[in-house]
């Protein structure tokens, strides 16, 4: 197994403060990635609720929420 080069590593250069912020974000994403499938679906439904009623650039509103 190999990993691809990290985009943030290549774009943030030596700015340590920014690198720390992005490192923390990356760690959070990794934690979320490791969640069980059921928990991810729960989060997805939360995201759908948060997005409900928000207008897209075209003016159309999102409105679907899975009732599972």
């Amino acid at each position: 197994m190999e990993n691809m080069p990290n985009l943030e590593d290549r774009t943030l250069g030596k700015n340590e403060a920014l690198r720390n912020i992005f490192r923390a974000k990356s760690m959070r994403r990794k934690e979320l990635k490791e969640l069980p499938f059921e928990k991810k679906i729960e989060i997805l439904i939360q995201l759908q609720k948060m997005a409900k009623g928000v207008k897209r650039p075209g003016g159309k509103k999102d409105g679907i929420i899975w009732m599972i």
Partner: protein, 141 residues
């Protein structure tokens, strides 16, 4: 989403291999579900509030991806998801903006078996596209 952090999405795509060749392999599925009371909405059928799309395998890559899909559990329900490398290959083939975005996310977050991916992409004539994509987004071929 199985392989990366949760992402906002609204629909569920179910790929399947039809048991027999027919002009309209979707008709019996839609007929059955309509009889159960499920309504259609454009290309989706709404099953228990989830917009669902049934997609018969449309080429060799997708057929192989379905044949090699992995069994996973959602609660006590067994289901299947496409293998990670197959998913990347299918998204490279469809190559919409959201596919490119998701491929980047997968490479950032998931452990991809690059050796297997290269072999798969070469088999399905997608390696050139992949090398170009990887060069553009990751600066490495």
């Amino acid at each position: 989403m199985y392989y990366v952090e949760p992402l906002l999405t609204y629909d569920l795509a179910i790929f399947f291999i039809p048991i027999e060749e027919s002009l309209d392999v979707l008709a019996p599925i839609y007929k059955y579900l309509k009889e159960k009371g499920y309504k259609t909405q454009r290309e989706h059928i709404i099953i228990e509030s989830v917009p669902t799309q049934f997609i018969p395998v449309y080429n060799e890559l997708v057929r192989e991806a379905v044949q090699n899909s992995t069994e996973v559990k959602y609660g006590r329900i067994k289901t299947r998801v496409l293998g990670l490398e197959y998913l990347i290959a299918v998204m490279l083939q469809t190559y919409r903006a959201k596919d490119r975005e998701r491929i980047i996310k997968i490479f950032e977050e998931a452990k991809v078996d690059l050796k297997f991916l290269r072999k798969l992409l070469k088999k399905h004539n997608l390696y050139g596209k992949y090398a170009k994509f990887r060069g553009s987004y990751f600066g490495k071929k």
